[in-house]
Symmetry: C2
Subunit: 418 residues, 2 copies
């Protein structure tokens, strides 16, 4: 039998006998149905059928998680973790068809009242065809000049409506305050009130001037999501103006689009995952981040959004930590994408974040947590740097705050318990 | 105030006062949070803030549909239909950023234990930039020569494992039997055991020879999902060999990739929606097909999968009918994509389908419903044609079967009630 070197692990929920349910998944995603079709010889099955590698029952469930499933007569509803394996031979090195294989027509199969892709593993050959992030953590550190601590960032707000002139003024204020990284909002792109090229012109003028003066060049991720030729053209324009980062709405640009941009790009690709809640928010449907980031890593995304601890969205801290660690882990020899922690971040989460992920190879993106600091934006940035110092030196924030006034102010102002 | 000519309708579930919850959505997807940021002037809000156009409460709910939502103190959980409006000015004509606006960071917002995009409406300007399907229904009818009834199709099975030679043999058998349309499985692409070009060579030789002899050219949708340059190259190869249809896994190739292919293509683009269950299967998360098909229609998809009545997946007939009708409806002047009905289809669903959608502008794709017909594949095709004749002439299948033996056999063999 051929080696099953593409593997995917799922949470399933079904009233069918687990072996039977897993066989339906394997059949649907390889030779066809789990009934034989005329052309399905023994040899073909041996070479191409997906294999059920393991089934582990995890829970008995009272009510189905999703409606519409067929009920197996007399069957109780169970949850289980199932791993399927495919030979690479089934699809070859093709990222789009890989996604169709591990995350295709599975989610609607009748026996399942729940089906969620948890993780995938792939043969190293994928990394030969798809080398992954060209910049990743080291490349991003080189471009920003930030070492030995997280890259500290913020987002230009309001999300939409600012003219290029206003964006440049805000950029100046933010980099004067010491920020390492800025980004367009995902809603901003090439709107009539802020055409891409004009925004690049004015923002990069500010950034370049500051860099000439201080030696510190802030990274600004410009959202160039759109048609392939437009994205390439905008990349070239940005590069010529001294820009150091592109940003794409990865779920909408898609795998083929991101691959085309990443191959063309001489700059890191900042991957914005807006829409991700659709994939992830149901506990029994969609996919989890470890699988997701592997696909986008291979597509060449250098920065991956992960949310941060105690974020303003619905994602739990456990899920956030798992996401960050999955970015930082090795995956068939590709560079790690830099995890982007955002949403409700301020100095307060640094110690817990460091404790959970044991790394500073992060982008730590704060909105109000920096700009609303009572001492001003520079004090806001300083409070984050101080808080990461505390985290890296094993000190509590309160202890560290005794000697660091910006952190002290932040704790007094932002701490919801006070 | 600027015209809010981009609109999106959502099902929401929240324990927050509905006005407040809707304001959070509008804030997140336009100027920023629903708290003002420093740059957010009155003028900017007036020109760019998303507007809550309507809120209609629909139900009181006992248990939250999704975990993780923040609970409003003392608030009961309600469902409501909410419509938001944005000025086109916010994003300009950009399909990727449109998706980020109507389906972006919404699904994770803390007040919501459910959020599903139901439908969108767009200004006609979108159709000027994105003209939609180049072929659609009329173009597909011209290429297949099928008029006045659905295009009858099947899928090459097993899904993976057949060599190009075996695929060509199966193609010959199927077109000899009278099929109008064949397609690769979505798992098939450019695998080592069936390289794309070799498959095209052998399959198109069979199809071209049959067309020369009979004047009837079957349409075969070849799955060329992959990198942009590969897709264009494969399209060109297919075109040169006389092929008449390309197929893509739209969720993975993505909007930018499909746009690039569709712009380049001189052939219809058959849109396979595998993975769609992730978007749709939760009643309170993701998006519904009417919104989805509008985005892909603008991206240039000529055929959209919709499932069929009484399908083997979990989708209800009501949802299938709504999907088909949304494809057939006018949308800012673009051509309709041809709905592709599949999954468990046979002669038995034709009358109900016609009654529900009042159209034969459909691709009716059967697997076992044709090839497992006891009289053989040709009899299987004939049974479908006869069944559609009955549907179009207002006759019951049983009545029509009295004079049509292939249909009679099908009813006896497939009808689950017998």
């Amino acid at each position: 039998m051929t080696e099953k070197n593409i593997q995917a692990t799922y949470l399933i929920e079904t009233s069918f006998p687990l072996e039977k349910a897993a066989a339906v998944m394997a059949g649907e995603q390889s030779c066809g149905t789990f009934l034989r079709t005329p052309g399905e010889t023994d040899e073909l099955r041996e070479n191409h059928a997906a294999e059920v590698l393991s089934i582990e029952e995890t829970a008995l469930i009272e009510k189905p998680g999703l409606p519409g499933a067929r009920r197996f007569p007399g069957g109780e509803i169970r949850q289980a973790i199932v791993t399927l394996g495919w030979p690479l031979e089934n699809l070859g090195l093709n990222l789009c068809n890989l996604a169709a294989t591990v995350a295709g027509n599975l989610f609607e199969l009748a026996p399942f009242s729940g089906l969620k892709l948890l993780d995938i593993s792939l043969p190293k050959l994928f990394a030969e065809k798809y080398p992954g992030p060209a910049f990743g953590i080291d490349g991003t550190r080189q471009l920003t000049g930030v070492e030995n601590r997280p890259i500290i960032g913020t987002i230009i707000k309001p999300s939409v409506g600012l003219s290029p002139e206003e964006t440049a003024i805000q950029t100046k204020m933010l980099i004067d305050a010491g920020l390492d990284f800025l980004k367009d909002d995902e809603l901003m792109g090439d709107a009539p009130h802020s055409p891409f090229e004009r925004r690049v012109d004015l923002v990069m003028e500010v950034i370049n001037r500051f860099a000439d003066k201080t030696g510190k060049k802030a990274m600004y991720a410009f959202n160039l999501s759109g048609e392939i030729e437009d994205m390439k053209r905008r990349h070239d324009y940005l590069l010529a103006k001294g820009g150091t980062c592109t940003m794409v709405n990865i779920n909408w640009v898609g795998i083929s689009g991101v691959l085309a941009l990443a191959k063309h790009s001489q700059l890191p690709v900042h991957g914005h995952r807006n829409g991700w809640g659709m994939f992830s928010r149901s506990p029994v449907l969609g996919m989890e981040f470890p699988a997701y980031q592997k696909i986008w890593r291979l597509a060449g995304v250098d920065h991956m959004h992960t949310n941060g601890l105690r974020n303003k969205f619905c994602e739990s801290d456990a899920s956030v930590v798992r996401s960050i660690l999955s970015c930082l882990s090795d995956f068939i020899g590709t560079k790690s994408p830099m995890p982007v922690l955002s949403s409700g971040q301020w100095a307060g989460q640094t110690v817990d974040t460091y404790e959970a992920v044991q790394s500073t190879d992060l982008m730590y993106v704060c909105g109000g947590g920096i700009v609303a600091h009572p001492g001003g934006i520079a004090a806001g940035v300083e409070s984050i740097i101080q808080a990461w110092d505390a985290a890296m030196n094993g000190r509590s924030l309160e202890e560290h705050a005794r000697e660091h006034s910006e952190l002290k102010q932040a704790l007094e102002f932002f701490n919801p318990e006070k």
